[in-house]
Symmetry: D2
Subunit: 302 residues, 4 copies
């Protein structure tokens, strides 16, 4: 209906979108699960066919979304429960995790912009083992089996002059991990999902995703190894917020779309490259980084 | 017209507002000056009477605004010109600057939120002299006259549990500066002013101003010494952006305000405590911090 | 013996010093306790008389030292045990903790120097309640009793131009806490204590202590309220290291002090204002900050 | 003489060492130049033969050292002069700089350890052009000729699990720069050179250099393109400081080396992985980062 293309990095929102606007969809399976006690909602969207992919505007693959309203609020015990649930989902989606793996964890984003610093924060605090295992063997950890974990924070194009994909590909070709896990801050469609949703997918990162500019795909196809992406919506496009408010207003008014609407969306141009965050973004990003970091540490313990 | 109260920390915008909505205003004088070569526009708004104050929604005093479109773009020579202009304005507004002063420079805001870190960044990089003068006398600087400069970064209430005003007042009472200069990140009404406008005023900081929550006034009245405030709009309230887009749409449509409008503004509630910034906010804040820091250093050199 | 005055902020080291050099000491009581399972050693030094104070070079009061060799190594469960032990000691030493208190926690030090950032790190991550209790009452926390906790990071004199004491006193007089808890990075005499020792004392902070320059005492006498200081040795004076190596050499050689020794210590002057840290200082400071932060949070929970 | 191997990353110090201990050296040419007005001393050591390389303990190549006593003190005009001199030296040593180059600037070191953050700081503030030139052509800069500049901050092995060399090699193979410039914090032998010396060499980075652990060589041989290294001594090994103090003492005493000396040096083991920095390390690193950043920007302007 609207000429302004609403963009979302969340399969969950793509699905809701589709349901609102269209007839349902073959090639896409959806399972939901709600843990009342823990107040965690899990949604598993599997896009199985090219048709489903077209309808959803997302590649074929699995998208698990974990929603928890209090994710960014202060409550350490609750955070542990979310971490555990996320670890469980990671274990289920990382291929070959029952064997010894070499895993590279990549934190996308700009560490100097609070809402975009999620990826760097996670990798900064991760347990890194690759160098120890290579130097001292497994003995370094008193374990018979251990994953070799490395971490990379490529930085953003404005500061490196390079695509994140170029950097990651180069390092992957030099160090040969079996799987890459990427953490990124996403753009959501609605403020109500900000900092309370984590999406895990085995489809990697696609052009136009994320808070910053990661224009080249970071996927199994481009890197040559499976890519698990963990994304959290930390911002909403400013233009999306205005656009959504319009839709709501028109529904309330019960009116036909105004004639001027198209013209108006042109006016949204000044909102290009602007985004919306909450005032507690620093605290919330810190909490969620902690949750994801613990979940990866836990999933990769043998 | 709108039931949603548009909030701005800029006297410039308050004036534009007033001009749009009303009949002009006694008790407020406005002077503009444009330096074509330097592309710097200076606006001096002086609110002289209580009537003027009421009409503008701002206290009696002087508000100088310096607008420069390329303020946050990379061009060091240009930044020096803006710094010099700002230094000139500061010298004109700081009372007693021709004598030796004790000046406390305060950086408001949250250093962990990029758009709100302007104040802390400026104070972090300032030339501080008070401790040297107290320990070694002016000889420390080989000068016959020197200002004693101190710096304070009080932090935000969510992290200190205290009002910025409480902290500043306490330190002022203990160290007795002659004048306080406060730097703060402001909320603007329009994205077009973000990171390209600097406001200097001798009225201090008032409730509800700024990106964070500085609920108690930081003014000559509350501190007992003159307070010069330097503010830069670095964010726009998310609700303001939506509200403004509406107004524009209705004007384009030539329609009467829709009935639903009031209802709708209630819907904006979810945007409470949300704000809009640009994607290069880290780079831009760094540039402007540098400009203000240099301007204060230069204004306080004897 | 040596003309170079060995400086230590740890009562534990002052005591060892004394025992080596002298005859034992009236007016100082010492209790030790070792938890074999937790590998935590507690030493409680109580200086009871002026004689004891003179002999130790420390003010009258209680000094509890908690030594744990793996304090800064990666082991979250172990860190929890240390946190709990520290919380227990804090509860024992904070006067009036069984009543509702207003507690100001102060993080001394320079957040831009890794080894000196301990205090700021702790306060940055603390649970702060004062503003919530003042705004919403205890209802904000669903509790019948709650401490009002505030946090202050005064910064260092080179960056503020003010003594930490001036800033803290000002804020104390404005906000009237019942007790002040101060966290500071200390200088130890020996590298073997670095980042594995926590000292808690009810005597506050004294001139010449700490990594930075806090030249004025921050004590109950100067602030008017009890001051509990939590200190961790994170650096060793470079001159101390050289001096200690000499002593060791002379002992090994079984020689009389060389004639040149005094001259030589003059040569140590170039080491003035230099200090020694370990290569993992960033990781270790992060771990210990976390331990202390959790301990304070736990001690101040009602 | 001493059984403790003194380590220095500065060719200048290696040369001084050699002169003290030995007979002079063929295969090494040394030129000195002193600009009295600017108080900048330039030393150009060229190691021309294998013999020279062995004697110096450094690879064949050119080492230019720029010494300026006030490098880290506050004086912006002076810093500009040092920047200009450094830019001149860089232009002379970067091969092919008169043509259009693709230059990758790499900041080694740990951004969370103040003394080791020099490299990351420089790259964080550099003018990066590669992405703009690739997207918009030279038109983006209104210039007929421009270098494509990219920046990389690989991080340290403890946090990445990878050798810096692996990361850099991977990115070089993917993005094909014509030359790599590496900035690193070095260990000096003497505190008197700390933060007042810059070394530029065309021999890259060698095992054991630097504050952190960069164990694999980062050189033209390992990367396949010329590698210019810019190094600044920001720390002294703690063991070196003690060892040097001994030598001095023995000279003063006019004694033969004590018998116990070897035993004693074993005792220095506890100083392994400890280093010495000054108390103003944060301020000094910031100043020098600024100088190097400006010099690179200036050298790479066409």
């Amino acid at each position: 209906m609207s000429s302004y293309k609403v963009r979302t990095d969340l399969a969950l929102e793509a699905k809701e979108n589709m349901e609102e606007n269209a007839e349902g969809c073959r090639g896409v399976s959806v399972e939901e699960e709600y843990d009342e006690e823990k107040e965690i909602k899990l949604t598993r969207v599997v896009i199985e066919t090219k048709n489903g992919s077209r309808a959803m505007g997302k590649p074929i693959g699995t998208y698990v979304t974990l929603e928890a309203p209090a994710m960014a609020l202060p409550d350490e015990n609750y955070h542990e429960e979310i971490s555990e649930e996320l670890a469980k989902q990671l274990k289920a989606i990382i291929p070959g995790i029952d064997k010894e793996l070499s895993v590279m964890v990549v934190g996308l984003g700009n560490r100097d912009v609070t809402a975009d610093a999620l990826g760097p924060n996670v990798v900064d605090n991760l347990t890194i083992t690759r160098h120890m295992v290579r130097e001292y063997g497994k003995a370094a950890y008193n374990q018979s089996r251990i994953h070799m974990i490395s971490g990379l924070i490529p930085g953003v194009m404005a500061k490196t002059g390079m695509e994140s994909q170029e950097i990651i590909r180069g390092v992957v070709e030099m160090t040969h991990p079996d799987v890459v896990i990427i953490i990124d801050a996403l753009a959501a469609r609605s403020t109500k999902r900000l900092n309370r949703t984590i999406q895990v997918t085995n489809t990697g990162i696609h052009p136009g995703s994320g808070v910053g500019n990661h224009r080249n795909a970071i996927t199994e196809e481009s890197l040559g190894v499976p890519v698990i992406a963990i994304g959290v919506p930390t911002v909403v496009d400013a233009a999306t917020i205005v656009s959504d408010a319009f839709e709501k207003m028109l529904q309330l008014a019960g009116e036909e779309p105004l004639e001027v609407q198209d013209e108006l969306f042109v006016g949204l141009g000044e909102l290009y490259n602007m985004y919306v965050t909450g005032k507690d973004v620093d605290y919330e990003i810190k909490q969620i980084s902690h949750i994801i970091c613990n979940a990866i540490n836990s999933a990769l313990e043998i």
